[in-house]
């Protein structure tokens, strides 16, 4: 597995300014071959700009980006041959069928006709669109479009796939299919995948590493566990406990437990802050006092919690933006 450690995407000091607004500010990043990397951040953090710069669609103001050793600015044609880009709201020609759209992509990539037909057939089957292939794209649902987008990206058999908000606005089942496809592409075919998203939950499921992107800067980068560890140092363990029946008595009992710093109650949900992990103790206490346990969940190991803490650390004193982020997180829960 030595070759899988090789960095296929290398970004150094990448900067993009629009007028005096800096969209991406000195981004350093390297992604290894066969890895699924999640680029996370709220809207307007510069994720899309980064993906556009990687595919050579926008020129960076400063810095360099290399994909498989090719300069994204100097050799965009070579880069475009090995990089598949799936934009957000991927668009197709609505008055053409799915198959025709793929055929067009094949023609743009200069694939020989026979090979293209064979590949289209295979990809339609793989993305579950074999029945819809001859329908006009205008009649497709959003999930189908997204899957057609995956097929479209795979038409050129890319080494690197860059996806911009691939999971936006599709239903849970479509999401599952899409995520399965993405994992398959990375693990079975050893393609490198860079996903930009603000849907933390999905990203957490499939990404090997994530980077948090705030206001054009990469504030943190690593596996989800690493990020959780990084933020844990300056915050307490937080455990969510749900029981029936819920009353204030339990709150007082929990508060008196050893190592518990705070207890909050919201209906049947109790949020317990503690100095160390005390899940066992909490469960035991609840059961012993005649409550039946509905759920017990350590908070803070999932991305949105990490995300929130990073924002708090970044010092969002500005009330409105804080509210926005909270809304943003609650939306994605």
């Amino acid at each position: 597995m030595a070759e899988t450690r090789e960095a296929i995407i290398q970004i150094r000091g990448l900067t993009k300014r629009y007028g005096n607004k800096t969209a991406v500010d000195g981004l350093d990043l390297s992604v290894r071959r066969g890895e699924i990397f999640g680029l996370l951040g709220p809207n307007g953090a510069g994720k899309t700009t980064t993906t556009l710069m990687l595919t050579g669609l926008t020129e960076p103001t400063e810095g360099t980006a290399f994909i498989s050793g090719m300069d994204c600015v100097r050799e965009p044609m070579e880069v475009k041959r090995t990089v598949g880009y799936m934009p957000d709201n991927v668009g197709f020609y609505n008055d053409m069928t799915g198959r025709e759209n793929l055929r067009f992509t094949a023609a743009l990539n200069g694939l020989p006709r026979a090979e293209a037909e064979e590949r289209i057939e295979r990809l339609l089957l793989r993305t579950g669109l074999e029945d819809a292939g001859d329908q006009k794209v205008g009649t497709y649902s959003r999930g189908m479009r997204q899957r057609l987008g995956v097929a479209d990206v795979l038409m050129k058999d890319p080494e690197v796939i860059i996806m911009d908000e691939p999971t936006l606005g599709i239903d849970p089942e479509g999401m599952r299919d899409l995520l399965r496809l993405i994992v398959e592409m990375a693990k079975k075919e050893n393609r490198t995948i860079l996903i930009s998203s603000h849907q933390l939950y999905q990203i957490q499921q499939i990404c090997d590493r994530v980077g948090l992107f705030v206001k054009g800067r990469l504030v943190a980068c690593g596996t989800v566990e690493e990020l959780a560890e990084q933020t844990r140092e300056d915050s307490r363990y937080l455990t969510e406990l749900c029981v029936t029946p819920a009353d204030d008595r339990l709150r007082d009992i929990l508060r008196d437990l050893d190592g518990v710093c705070s207890v909050g109650r919201e209906g049947g949900r109790y949020m317990i802050g503690s100095e160390k992990n005390i899940s066992d103790l909490l469960a035991e206490t609840a059961l012993k006092n005649g409550y039946s346990l509905v759920s017990l969940r350590p908070c803070g190991n999932d991305l949105d919690e990490i995300y929130r803490r990073y924002f708090e650390k970044a010092g969002h004193d500005n009330g409105s933006s804080n509210g926005k982020i909270k809304r943003f997180i609650s939306r994605n829960r």
């Binding site: 629009y18 899309t48 556009l52 595919t55 669609l57 926008t58 044609m77 475009k80 041959r81 990089v83 598949g84 880009y85 799936m86 934009p87 957000d88 709201n89 991927v90 668009g91 197709f92 020609y93 609505n94 008055d95 067009f104 992509t105 023609a107 743009l108 990539n109 200069g110 987008g149 479209d152 050129k156």
Partner: protein
Amino acid sequence: MWALFHKEMADHIRSRRFLLILALVAVSGFASLYGALESISSGTDTDFVFLKLFTSSGSSIPSFVSFIALLGPFVGLALGFDAINSEQSGGTLNRLLSQPIYRDSVINGKFLAGAAIIFTMVFVMGGLVSALGLIVIGIPPSLEEVGRIIVFLLFTGVYICFWLGLSILFSVLCRHAATSALAVIACWLFFTIFLSMLAGIIAAALFPVNGGWEGLFNLMDNYKCELYLNRFSPYYLYGEAVTTILNPGVRTIGIVTNAQLEGAVAGYLPFGQSLLLVWPHLTGMAAMTLAAFVLSYMKFMRQEIRSS
């Protein structure tokens, strides 16, 4: 680029919009043919009868030439007004550009596909009208007439391509297809209708002709001023050129004094001379087309590709 070119061609041919325009042009072409035949059969002039198919008008129907001059722009702008911005709003542009093609091949492919469609349509239309006319009047065209008709069709193609270029320019400039359609229709109306009025007003203001002796002296300048202003409009330019090409009786464009006409032998102008007379018009129209295209090309190449 050829993949794009083929796709655009296929799109145009299959689109309902194009079929509609084709029907419109065909109907007006045949109507004008009918009118021309009517006036030819009642006329006594037998020189260059075949060319009269295109130039003469019936009692109530304008001639083929004037129909094309009026409707031709419509064809061009219908083919081009949403060339770039529909790709942008449909989200297909960035997908397209992430394929291994150069950015300019998108706009080149679109323009070339439109131009190919236009030239095909124009020549087919011209051929159809000639063929029908030949069947009805039964007089075969002379070689000179064929040459004149081919040059006329070439002019028409270039003329419509100018409008295609202009509409593509607006499709790059405007984010919404509706805006660019409105803008280019406004241009069309301005050039075909208002510019001639405006030219008259400006010429009258600069060189008043209703003031006694002074007016008499201004007459020439007034006319020239109006003519030159009018020639800014491709519509006027096209009309002037085509009239000269299709009517060998036109010996000169612009103003001629009596002194210059003295001693001239009345007769028809040879084909070569007619061509010489309208050569600047062709150059001018080709230059305008190129200018429109180059502007849109430059703008497109510098544009930021953001879907939002």
